[in-house]
């Protein structure tokens, strides 16, 4: 038995390689092969990324012996590092996949370090060697110099053509150690994922570390002490296959008519009620959400549906946080915490697509650490909740340390970008003669704003980016409020560095002026800090909206026109006396800085 996962940067061909391994083991035939079999969420296939990890069991015949391989897929994006750590904990080995045309990227390294922390055996794999612009020697050198692999360890494959796949299978079996679990010991199974199925209740994905579990066993969740009777066990091959028993070392799924979402905690250990293990397996460190935003249903009556959707999503995404929030402007909704912007984007899209709820999302914010005048410290995850200025002694914001991998000709633009984003230069390493890894210290809030887009455009897409949190630092920040027709709109408040306040204020009021249609009266839009207005733009009053000539008494035509106008109004949210379109609430994000 061998348990392994694949770690790779986005686009380095991880999912294609997984498909190829599935084919090699005969789990699927060429004909069955849908593009990227393991990515089964619509969004995953559309965006070409893996979000949720998947586990498959593959029987493999090698040198006269039968092996059971468990492949656990992992996401490549920085926001999903947590998911990676979960899958790595269920493995003994990992394939480190690097694109022969690109070399090592920022996230490859981050995930690699996690794998090393978990004491996994790493097999370095250079993929896409069939491409004409592959530079195998250069990438080999990077792997040797940066990480310290030996040349003979490195495998060369093309997942597309199948070159090198047999050698890869050989390495998996020969290099990765078999799991060392004790089948006779009391059951200890690690829950590394779970999802909701409307027929079977909650399905948990687990790795049996010690002991075994059979259908009909009474199991106990060690963290919550809740007990259940196992109704179904199985593996994915990659389709679901029911089994009678899962033994130490195996990876599979378990159903036990679990209805309560709270009872299943990813990272918890399952044991047997009548023969319990003495202690739980080490779980995962919970990931802290970095980015927060308000999510509101466009139709306020869908609030309960939104809560339901968030609960179901949280089931297999422990990093998603949410708590009820009320906005004067938007009504009842939730303050949600995400690992990063992509995570936020994907959750919002899944709610709209899988649960069919139209959302209004407010601009994302980081968590500020506020020391009040009385020396007490509060964490503030929403600009609307920021205490008044007079009460604040010091205001701190989260900082990150970047790793930006980029061809050396872009050093200048990267530095310019980071300086503009209030960055402090730390250091720079040459990966080889033409590529560098640049380290900056940057406020997280600047990343949340538009850093990714800027990075892309500054480097023509050649940069890869990863970051780690390095803690809180005091900053000269101010809370800026937006007034519409003299009334503060809580959902539009933001925290901004003092030096940028004027420019941002001007840009926001201008953008809002473009987005909000004329009303029956003139509507001033103001950006204010405290009581001081720093920018203003006016939406002129509507001067004309009238039905023209009565065409020989054709009333249906007029009704159609009015119906169209009514539909348009439905998509607006009343904020005080002003009708505001949904997209205005993200105005803070979508504007161009001058």
């Amino acid at each position: 038995m061998r348990n392994f996962s694949i770690i790779a940067h986005i686009d380095h061909g991880k999912s294609t390689l997984a498909d190829r391994i599935l084919e090699e083991t005969g789990a699927i035939t060429e004909r069955e092969r849908q593009e990227q079999l393991l990515d089964n969420m619509d969004i995953e296939r559309e965006r070409g990324i893996t979000i949720k990890l998947n586990a498959v069991q593959l029987p493999y015949h090698y040198q006269g012996k039968e092996y059971l391989l468990h492949l656990i897929d992992t996401p490549g994006h920085v926001d999903f590092t947590y998911e990676v750590s979960r899958s790595l904990a269920a493995c003994e080995g990992a394939l480190l996949v690097v694109d022969a045309t690109q070399g090592i990227e920022a996230q490859t390294l981050a995930n690699l370090y996690q794998a090393l922390d978990n004491n996994l055996t790493i097999i370095p794999v250079i993929n896409k060697i069939d491409l004409p612009n592959a530079d195998i020697e250069k990438v080999k050198r990077e792997l040797m110099d940066t990480i310290g692999f030996d040349e003979e360890e490195i495998l060369l494959v093309s997942a597309k053509t199948g070159t090198g796949i047999p050698e890869l299978m050989k390495a998996i079996i020969e290099r990765i150690p078999a799991p060392r679990g004790d089948r006779k010991a009391p059951l200890q199974a690690l829950i590394f994922d779970s999802y909701y199925d409307s027929y079977r209740g909650i399905v948990t994905l687990l790795r049996v570390v010690h002991g075994s579990v059979k259908i009909g066993d009474k199991i106990k969740m060690m963290a919550t002490n809740s007990t259940y009777e196992v109704t179904e066990l199985g593996v994915h091959n990659p389709y679901e296959k029911k089994v009678e028993e899962l033994q130490a070392g195996e990876v599979g799924y378990l159903c036990a008519s679990i209805k309560s979402i709270e009872d299943v905690k990813v990272g918890d250990t399952i044991t047997l009620e009548n023969n319990p293990a003495t202690c739980a397996l080490p779980g995962y460190k919970p990931m802290k959400p970095m980015v927060f935003c308000g999510i509101y249903p466009v139709e306020s009556s869908r609030y309960p549906d939104l809560r339901d959707a968030l609960e179901k999503l949280k089931l297999n995404d422990a990093s998603l946080q949410f708590e009820p929030e009320t906005s004067q402007a938007l009504g009842f909704g939730f303050r949600c915490g995400f690992l990063g912007l992509l995570h936020m984007d994907i959750i919002e899209e899944r709610i709209e697509r899988e649960f069919h709820i139209d959302l209004i999302a407010t601009s994302p914010s980081v968590v500020y650490e506020v020391e009040l005048a009385d020396r007490s410290v509060v964490m503030v995850d929403s600009p609307a909740k920021m205490p008044e200025r007079q009460r604040i002694a010091t205001l701190k914001e989260p900082y990150i340390r970047t790793s930006i991998f980029v061809p050396s000709e872009y050093i200048g633009p990267i530095m310019e970008l980071c300086q503009n984003k209030r960055g402090n230069y730390l250091s720079m390493e040459y990966l080889d003669a033409t590529r560098v890894n640049i380290h900056y210290e940057l406020p997280l809030s600047e990343i949340v704003y538009d850093f990714f887009d800027k990075l892309k455009s500054y480097t023509k897409g050649y940069a890869s980016f990863d970051y780690e949190m390095i803690g809180y630092k005091p900053s000269d920040l101010v809370k800026m409020d937006i007034l519409l027709n003299g009334e503060m709109v809580d959902a539009l408040s933001l925290v901004v560095h003092k030096d940028f306040a004027y420019a941002r204020g001007r840009a926001i009021v201008e953008r809002l002026r473009e987005l909000i249609p004329r009303q029956q009266f003139e509507v001033p839009i103001q950006a204010v800090i405290g009581t001081k207005a720093i920018a203003r733009a006016d939406i002129k009053a509507m001067r004309k909206n009238v039905l023209a000539k009565c065409y020989g008494g054709d009333v249906s035509r007029k009704r159609k026109l009015l119906e169209k106008q009514k539909e348009g109004k439905k998509r607006m949210k009343m904020v005080g006396s002003v009708e505001v379109p949904q997209e205005a609430f993200l105005a803070v994000l979508s504007m161009e800085e001058e």
Partner: protein
Amino acid sequence: MIKSAYVHIPFCETICSYCDFCKYYYQKEWVDDYLNALEEEIEKRYQGEELATLYIGGGTPSVLTLEQLERLFSILSRLNLSKEVEYTVECNIENITEEKIKLFRNYGVNRVSVGIQTFQEKYLSFLNRHHTSEEAITKISMMKKYIPNINMDLIYAIPGETIEELENDLDTFLSLDLPHLSTYSLMIEEHTKLYHEKITPIPEELDSQMYEKIKERLKDYEHYEISNFSKKGYASLHNLTYWNNLEYYGFGLGASGYLGNIRYTNTRSLSHYLKGNWVYEKQALTPLETMENEFILGFRKREGISLSQFQKKYHKNPLEMKVVQELLLKKFLVHQNDFLFIPEKYLYISNEILVCFMGIEE
């Protein structure tokens, strides 16, 4: 009770660049066939009610020859007109003649509506109108001798037009001393020449300034509807039929009518019409839709909606309706004596108010 009829004559010598009405280029044979079909439609559908208003519109009714006009009037003579009927024909300057006007008068026509649109030469050609402003003035004076109850159509907000040019037009109108003016801000509709040329409308600020200017210059006239001004006693009874949500026949190609609870529109296809397939679509209104229309149409009038009339028709007091109460509170509606109306300053953005009456609840 049906008391009005509209008759459509869909032929024109030239096509105005802004027009999206139902129209065909004038061809003599088509007109003869058309008049036969029109006769058949009226014969089959008209139930003999006494009519208080009859309106012949177009297209361009005055494009018809004297002979064809004779035929048209003889067809219409089977309609039972009341003694005080308001009988209107639309005319164009290009093809109206003294003979035709005399003929009109002889057949009982007592009101003409003449499409002038503008007195500025450059805009006349922009709108593809083929007369000069001098001709317009001469012909109107001629028409007045036979039928003094004349409405003039005037278009404003033409791209490039200035307030001064509009004032000149208004002055010319006033100097002609006509009892009625219909004035419309130029709409660029789909299926028109202007739309295909991607002409953009003037800014709404200027448009509304022009509207203000019109009201100011015509202060001696009664501003009885959003776009209509009249001397006392000269309001268009036919158009009031529409705005009062009353029934009317619509005869002819592309005409709309309202009979019982049915609103219908005739086909715009000449060949279908000639075969006797007159009606293109029919819609039976629910009582609620009828009530919505009462508001949507009634609020075009400055006097607004008569509460007692409304009560009689729907057994309901509008003042007890939630939507009305809300609008009264916001001062978008005013209640005075028996009437409920949109205050003058909101007339030009009245859609914002009318839209609240779409999908009203009991």
